[in-house]
């Protein structure tokens, strides 16, 4: 009775599915996230097609240079995220620490820049209630920002206290990094869609 419960396929793959549990779990979670952001992008399409006029993001004060920097920052963070996982695969824990550190740092840079953008708009009297465009802008980037923060909390945990698992169960820990990475790439990908939609598309 008092044997510990060991859920199978926590760190090893189930032969017939080729997946370990968390990997399937995160893919399912990402599928639901696609539906979440899909609904928001659909909102954009529906409201835009229904509107007589539509603003051009750059012309009403959205900064393309800042957003471009942020895009690069997130892409770099995705690369370092993969590198941190690859470092664990080659059993190099020190390199993992530095790559993961850079990933977290990139998240911080992204949020700081985003914070400046938000503050700049508020200073100019631009609020979510200003127009439908700004409502969509703040809602989508805000929700995306929350996702970035969520990812950073997970990454920071895995960089700090969670990294102890490397000593006890390295395989499972490596899997955790892979799963966190899948989520992080998704968050980047959402931004890759948000950037052109909000900053680059012409108005009408």
């Amino acid at each position: 009775m008092s044997t510990a419960i060991e859920i199978p396929y926590n760190s090893t793959e189930r032969p017939d599915t080729g997946l370990y549990n968390a990997k399937l779990g995160v893919w399912l979670f990402l599928a639901s996230e696609v539906m979440l952001f899909g609904a928001l992008f659909s909102t954009y399409v529906l409201l835009r097609t229904g509107a007589d006029t539509w603003e051009n993001g750059a012309q009403i004060g959205l900064s393309i240079p800042l957003a471009t920097i942020n895009t690069l920052v997130l892409i770099i963070s995705s690369v370092t995220m993969v590198m941190s996982w690859a470092s664990l695969k080659t059993k190099n824990f020190g390199k993992y620490k530095s790559y993961m550190g850079v990933t977290i740092l990139c998240g911080v840079i992204f949020l700081v820049i985003k914070g400046f953008e938000y503050a700049h708009k508020f200073e100019n009297g631009i609020w979510p209630s200003t127009s439908t465009f700004m409502a969509i802008y703040f809602t989508m980037t805000g929700l995306h920002g929350l996702h970035v923060i969520g990812g950073m909390i997970v990454n920071t945990y895995l960089w700090g206290p969670g990294a102890k698992m490397w000593q006890t169960d390295p395989e499972r820990f490596t899997n955790r990094i892979e799963v966190a990475g899948l989520y992080w790439h998704f968050v980047d990908l959402v931004w890759i869609f948000l950037f052109p939609t909000l900053y680059l598309l012409p108005g009408k």
Partner: protein, 600 residues
């Protein structure tokens, strides 16, 4: 880490709060879900009992002084229900029944408790996630209940929360208004079912016991798998919509507010440019699959109970499986049949009318297969079987009366009348709820080690069957007379409703009768729990699926030894076998033995 191991090894000595409150055991969590959901079901039912007074005797003071005093002058001035309070009761009845009652019971309780057992797993794939999904659901429930106590009362724009009404009622940017709390509560509930569905799907795919191939899964597990995908993919759009409506209410945006909106003779001071239809699309994109979230687990339970009590295999197991998958897929492309009257245009109407007719096919296949399963069986008429049998015609009535609603032209007359209420209540109340009762009576011995009282159970069944029909059958008549569903006075002030007004009393008295009958269930539940007859076998119904291969009640970790599966789920009355059921985990006898015939 060492500490964690230490705890796990001595989990029998876990402190009370770890064992029963913050447990990671799927069975404890299932029971938590079940009890919470039953309380919410009863509460949501009570809201309706109050409304039924106003509908049967509009404008008359409620004769129960205690209740009038409890609710206070603002809700019941002079003992007469205020219109705003009536609207709150209506909105919250729907919300609580669907999101806090039936879904958590069908998916949270039955899914959590049974899926790991039926697939032969020790627990869910992510036990801690499982615990958090219950507690997120709990918080959502507390937020919903709390919304009754803020100034202005709870949400009052219907369970569908259609804007612009829901955005401007009440007009306040505060979070502590009924509607804003409703939206916040929904975000919690959606998050909870999202975590739950990830867990269920992963458990079914990854933790199936050795030998448990896809076509050997009990139909209940299939139903839960498809339900999991519906929750996973249909709920997020409502989460997005909920966030946007919160933005509309709290940040003053206009996602759902069109340009030039005039409220109370004054132009609303918003930027405009939004679309009220957008909410309806996003809402029904969730809420139609949600209907199948309500019904599929019920079908799964009924299939288990019917196979067990007819003592023969389900008729057409494979067609059941393919139908439920097809049903799940189709449920994503029928949502706009709730919106025929919004002026979407005939082309879009025709599309959704067609998909709606198509989706009725797999439903009919499932129902037909379940009815044909009865053919030639020596049926045991115990309480779970009675409820399961009643499910068939009740769901049948609910389903068939849905067809006219799915046809755009017939819907013009029936839309938003009591006919609609009758239709979906037949599906959910004497449909799903009967199946859930069947499940409670059927699995109660496994969960508690006690048998529920048979006589009280039958009393509960027959009473419920009569009163359920007493409530919902008249709704079709009232609805076809054209009486709208949301009238505060039940139609008293409308000429066309005069001939059917007497039915309001029939429905109300039936509802109160149903409440009395449910007390029998509550008494039976607790009496059996403490003083019921102990079951003498781990498999009292002589069933075949894996949950009956565990000790009673199953310990943490479920199985004494890791189970292996050798045959399909419903090997009852195999010709030549020595007993009339072959459990899935029973190994084959030596070659040539007739007991092997059950193997597929």
């Amino acid at each position: 880490m060492r500490e964690a191991h230490h705890h796990e090894e001595h989990h029998d000595e876990l402190p009370f709060w770890r064992h029963y409150i913050f447990s990671t055991d799927h069975k404890i969590i299932g029971i938590q879900y079940g009890l919470t959901a039953l309380v919410f079901l009863f509460f949501g039912f009570c809201l309706m009992l109050l409304m039924r007074w106003q509908l049967a005797y509009p404008g008359k003071p409620l004769p129960i002084a205690f209740l009038t005093n409890l609710l206070g002058e603002s809700r019941m001035p002079g003992g007469v229900m205020a219109p705003e309070f009536y609207n709150q009761l209506g909105a919250m009845h729907g919300t609580i029944m669907v999101f806090l009652g039936v879904v958590p019971l069908a998916v949270g309780a039955f899914g959590n408790y049974l899926v790991p057992l039926q697939v032969g797993a020790q627990d869910m794939a992510f036990p801690k996630l499982n615990m958090s999904s219950y507690w997120v659901y709990f918080i959502g429930g507390v937020v919903m209940l709390g919304s009754f106590f803020v100034s202005g009362g709870s949400a009052q724009s219907g369970w569908t929360s259609y804007p612009p009404l829901s955005v401007i009622t009440p007009q306040s940017h505060s979070l502590f208004t009924g509607q804003s709390l409703w939206l916040t509560g929904m975000v919690f509930l959606i998050t909870s079912s999202l975590l739950g569905s990830v867990n269920t799907i992963t458990t079914i795919i990854q933790l199936r016991a050795k030998g448990l191939t896809w076509m050997r899964l009990p139909f209940f597990v299939w139903a839960q798998l498809v339900t999991g995908f519906l929750l996973l993919l249909a709920f997020p759009p409502l989460e997005a919509a909920g966030v946007m409506q919160l933005m509309d209410r709290m940040a003053g945006t206009s996602f759902f507010l069109p340009t030039g909106l005039v409220v109370g003779g004054k132009a609303l001071n918003v930027s405009g440019g939004g679309s009220a239809l957008l909410w309806q699309h996003l809402f029904w994109f969730l809420a139609h699959p949600e209907v199948y979230v309500l019904i599929l687990p019920a079908m799964g339970i009924v299939a288990e109970v019917i196979a067990n009590n007819t003592r023969k295999p389900l008729w057409g197991y494979k067609s059941l499986v393919y139908s439920v998958i097809f049903l799940g897929f189709m449920s994503f492309v029928v949502w706009a049949h709730h919106m025929f009257l919004t002026g979407m245009g005939t082309a879009i109407n025709a599309f959704f009318q067609t998909t709606t007719m198509i989706i009725s096919i797999p439903s009919i296949i499932i129902l037909t297969a379940l009815i044909l399963s009865l053919w030639g069986g020596s049926i045991r008429f115990n309480v779970p079987m009675l409820f399961a049998l009643a499910f068939l015609p009740m769901f049948g009535i609910g389903g068939l009366t849905g067809l006219p609603l799915g046809l755009a032209s017939a819907d013009i007359h029936l839309h938003d009348t009591y006919y609609v209420i009758g239709h979906f209540h037949y599906v959910v109340a004497p449909g799903t709820l009967f199946a859930l009762f069947a499940g409670i009576y059927y699995w109660f011995p496994k969960v508690s080690g006690k048998q529920m009282n048979d006589f009280l159970g039958k009393l509960h069944f027959w009473g419920s069957l009569i009163f359920m029909n007493g409530i919902f059958m008249p709704m079709f008549i009232v609805g076809m007379a054209g009486v709208s569903r949301r009238l505060y006075d039940g139609g008293t002030s409308y000429l066309h409703a005069q001939n059917v007004l007497y039915l309001n009393k029939v429905m109300s008295h039936s509802a109160w009768g149903l409440a009395v009958i449910q007390c029998i269930f509550i008494v039976n539940f607790f009496w059996s729990l403490f003083a019921g007859r102990k079951v003498t076998s781990d498999n009292p119904w002589e069933a075949t699926t894996l949950e009956w291969a565990t000790p009673t009640p199953p310990p943490h970790g479920n199985f004494l030894k890791v189970p292996e599966v050798f045959r399909g789920p419903y090997e009852y009355s195999v010709p030549g076998a020595e007993k009339d059921f072959l459990p899935q985990n029973e190994p084959d006898k030596k070659p040539g033995d007739p007991n092997n015939r059950g193997k597929k």
